[in-house]
Amino acid sequence: MTPSGHAAASADTHQNWIPLRETATREVFELMLSCQLTPDSVMDESGMNVTAMVGLGGQLCGVITVRCNNTAAVLMASKMLGLPVEKVGQDFSDAIGEVCNMVAGNFKNKIAGLSDGCMLSPPSVITGSDYSLHSLADSPGLQTRMLFENLPVIVTLQIHS
């Protein structure tokens, strides 16, 4: 994915939201998938061919994306549904969409005063990696990389100031 946007003066202000977003993501994986996420410092984004997106509108505008490879997306669905990976089928896209939706909802609920004034779009899921995302978000993406069962997952928040 190639994010498109402009650097914004408010970017620094949003840096303190990174821990909140990390916590929001960890809680979703712990409660819904019974999995602990671990830090990932490797910056390799190859093979990230599943992207879930949820838009934020209102007092906070932007987009949250969750990206991973197909194996991780299927494993997420498997753990959420309590099914063996071979029985997941096409449910993986619905599953990662719901993961992104819960991360976005959990994140905005953690920001004092924002919950009532920020709405979420339904999740969208893209499979494939050869695309560019053009959003109104004008801040550089705040990215968190974590490992889910040793598979990289990237959560990005882009904000429209």
Binding site: G105, N106, P122
Partner: protein
């Protein structure tokens, strides 16, 4: 005593997760109906009664708030407890849902224990 539940959510994965959570919470389910939006759920309720409704808020066609507003017009659905399960955690949404007749409110993400905590009280003596 086993119960008949209706789960309303536009995500089929989430419907399955909610059903799984109910079973993990020890709720004895005789039957589980699933609907993708409020309108579909109302149509199902016209054909048969349920003991419990678990409902998302943000859905296409008819959202969860409009659905619970229309429930009293369905003979089979009068007095059936509704518990909302949604990512919308704002106080305004909680107040709106409860004032429209919801008996409980669970925020996603959730655990089977949280589902039990909210569902068992509204079922009264049925479990």
């Amino acid at each position: 005593m086993s119960i008949r539940a209706l789960i309303v959510d536009d995500s089929s994965v989430m419907r399955k997760i909610v059903e799984r959570s109910l079973r993990q919470a020890g709720i004895d389910l005789s039957d589980v109906l699933q609907a993708g939006n409020g309108a579909e759920a109302l149509s199902m309720l016209k054909d048969g009664a349920v003991d419990l409704i678990l409902c998302d808020i943000n859905m296409p066609v008819m959202d969860g708030i409009e659905f619970i507003k229309q429930l009293p017009s369905i003979e089979n659905a009068k007095n059936v407890p509704v518990v909302m399960i949604t990512t919308e955690g704002s106080e305004a949404h909680v107040v709106q849902a409860l004032s429209c007749g919801a008996r409980g409110y669970i925020r996603k993400p959730f655990t089977p224990e949280q589902v039990k905590e909210h569902v068992v009280p509204v079922l009264g003596g049925k479990v």
